[in-house]
Symmetry: C2
Subunit: 145 residues, 2 copies
């Protein structure tokens, strides 16, 4: 009876489980650099999207804006990011990567393919491409509904 199909056929269940596993696959690499998964996503987001306001950045990395302070503070203290003023809108505090932050982000990006290969080992190259494009489509639609 397919109506009683296993929870393993629920995409939502699989996404939440694999999301945890994907995050865990990074903990070792991040711990060596004294970074958290939040820091990872912030650095890579700024690296590819460029400078962002606090709210916009929080929205992308799925952190509540009210928790941005404690998350971002260590990055600023270590000189990986900087917060500047926006002359056009003096409420905004534009967050951007410093040169050291750009270097750190590029180095993390370089580590991605190795970790990714391990995670995606069970899939063929074609299957990986299909999976990537499907996930990307879901994420882009989820961001801007």
């Amino acid at each position: 009876m397919p109506a009683e199909a296993s929870f393993e056929s629920s995409v939502g269940f699989l996404l939440s489980q694999l999301g945890v596993l994907a995050t865990r696959s990074w903990v070792g690499v991040l711990a060596e650099r004294d970074l958290t998964p939040h820091h990872h996503r912030i650095l890579l987001t700024l690296h590819t999207a460029g400078p962002l306001g606090a709210t916009a950045l929080a929205d992308i990395v799925l952190i509540d804006p009210r928790n941005m302070g404690p998350v971002v503070a260590p990055l600023e203290r270590r000189g990986l990011i900087q917060r500047g003023d926006d002359p056009a809108d003096r409420r905004r505090r534009v967050i951007s990567l410093t040169p050291a932050g750009t270097e750190a982000a590029a180095e993390l990006a370089a580590a991605t393919s190795r970790i990714e290969d391990e995670l995606l080992a069970p899939l063929t190259p074609d299957e990986r491409d299909a999976l990537r494009s499907h996930l990307r489509l879901l994420w882009q639609k989820a961001k801007a509904p």
Copy 2:
């Protein structure tokens, strides 16, 4: 330069983000029933896999076994699960659904398709099937490496 490709092409990044979104898509339905995402996964896992020991169950739902007590206690108190002894191995405490728990799990499973449809709206039926099978494959391999 594709080596500098966007972080959006990282499957790990997409999985962790979509995992959060998939979990959030359930919070309303679960809150109405006074359940957490952990409870959700436990009920559905027991519903399809049958009775399990505490360690085996914790392993599947990716909860540290030491945190199972506080997670499982409310379910037991509300009569949705029960913990019994295993005559074959008196260390084990077998966790299983009560009739009320079975009913609750079935009801949650019924709500899945509606939530799933919303999440997967951007994809065609064929794409959904492909995504589901790829994710399932990754999860099964990740569980038993």
